[in-house]
Symmetry: C2
Subunit: 191 residues, 2 copies
DNA sequence: AATCAACTGGAACGCACATTTCAGTTATCG
DNA sequence: CGATAACTGAAATGTGCGTTCCAGTTGATT
């Protein structure tokens, strides 16, 4: 049903599609990378036209690359929520999220203005998961309740962005961010 | 000496230069603004060529606009350092800095890749002033000393960036950021 | 091997910008 | 009021993209 008379899609095209995706993904981890179609094409040794066609446009290609990176992160967030307490999930997940961001700088640099539906959907999932963590942690008394929960989530997202933007990438910086963030999110000591 | 035989520069040119600068400055406070030469020109009702020529290029125009906004902020930081304790200076200044960023979103959005010498210099001054505040506050025991001072400064800068990026601009969000940041920067409670 | 649709990539195109050109306009000065 | 040099802005130019075209190539199917 899916491929009626054998695959109409040639093997080399499938291979090139995979190569283009891999090259785009690799570029997302390179700090100052140009993130142009030509840069991706050059990396694989293909023509620019071929790279673009494989996914139907630059945006679709990058959407696939970014969402491919993001998908395991989102799954991890949900797994943690199921496995452990919200507070522990929040702490563990934030540590991992910042490590992820440290490893993939390009991911947030030049993506503005692009249409990335799958990525946007995943981001929404991620936000939902973090909101759950915060909500639970607040109930457990480990996160301050004097701030709007949505604001707290935004704060976390922006922290992740800031880590991704750090040049050069620095795990030390990410750790410092996390320390300050978590201490700042704790309920303020009673007078 | 400066204008040997009367001004060689015509009055209308001087006026247009001022108008271009004002328009560029205004655009820096508009969230989704395009920040193109044409957008600036349209705002003043001048031709694009005139706007660019007034400063010798788009970069120079924006450099003038941004540094014009930044200059009082830097002066304020230095004044606070001279007037009061480092801790108080840090708190007061951060509040004002975040309010400034809330008011001028465009300021950090599309400035990447532009050559802004005056702005860069002012930013360096600002960083120096903040470093002084932190250094003093650490000595006063109001800021944790278990983080690298430079990292702490970067953290503050990134927080300011995050506030500038908030859409829509929100003083509430800025306040939340500040609260978390300052609490996170406090020395951790002794066991 | 033969056939043919799928595929490829260099070149052409379209688009958005900043910048430069240049014929016409206008402030300024004698 | 001229005369002249500064100024203006619509159009032309240059640049850096993403995308599309199309003549040539190659994998798949018989």
């Amino acid at each position: 049903m899916s491929t009626p008379t054998g695959s109409r899609r040639r093997a080399d095209a499938v291979r090139n599609r995979r190569l283009a995706l891999e090259a785009a993904t690799a570029l997302l981890s390179e700090p100052g990378a140009a993130l142009t179609v030509e840069a991706i094409a050059k990396k694989v040794g293909l023509g620019a036209a071929t790279v673009v066609r494989a996914f139907g446009g630059k945006d679709a290609l990058l959407d696939a690359a970014v969402s491919g990176l993001l998908e395991p992160v989102v799954r991890r967030a949900r797994d943690l929520l199921a496995e452990t307490t919200p507070t522990r999930a929040l702490h563990v997940f934030l540590r991992e999220l910042l490590a992820f961001q440290t490893a993939h700088h390009g991911i947030n640099d030049q993506l503005g203005g692009l249409d990335l539906p799958a990525t946007t959907a995943l981001r929404a999932d991620l936000v939902r998961a973090v909101e759950e963590m915060i909500d639970g942690a607040r109930r457990e008394g480990t996160v301050r309740t004097d701030l709007d929960p949505g604001v707290t989530t935004t704060l976390i997202g922006q922290t992740a962005l800031a880590v991704a933007r750090a040049r050069p990438p620095s795990q030390e910086l990410a750790d410092a961010y996390l320390t300050v963030l978590l201490d700042g999110l704790r309920p303020p000591a009673a007078p």
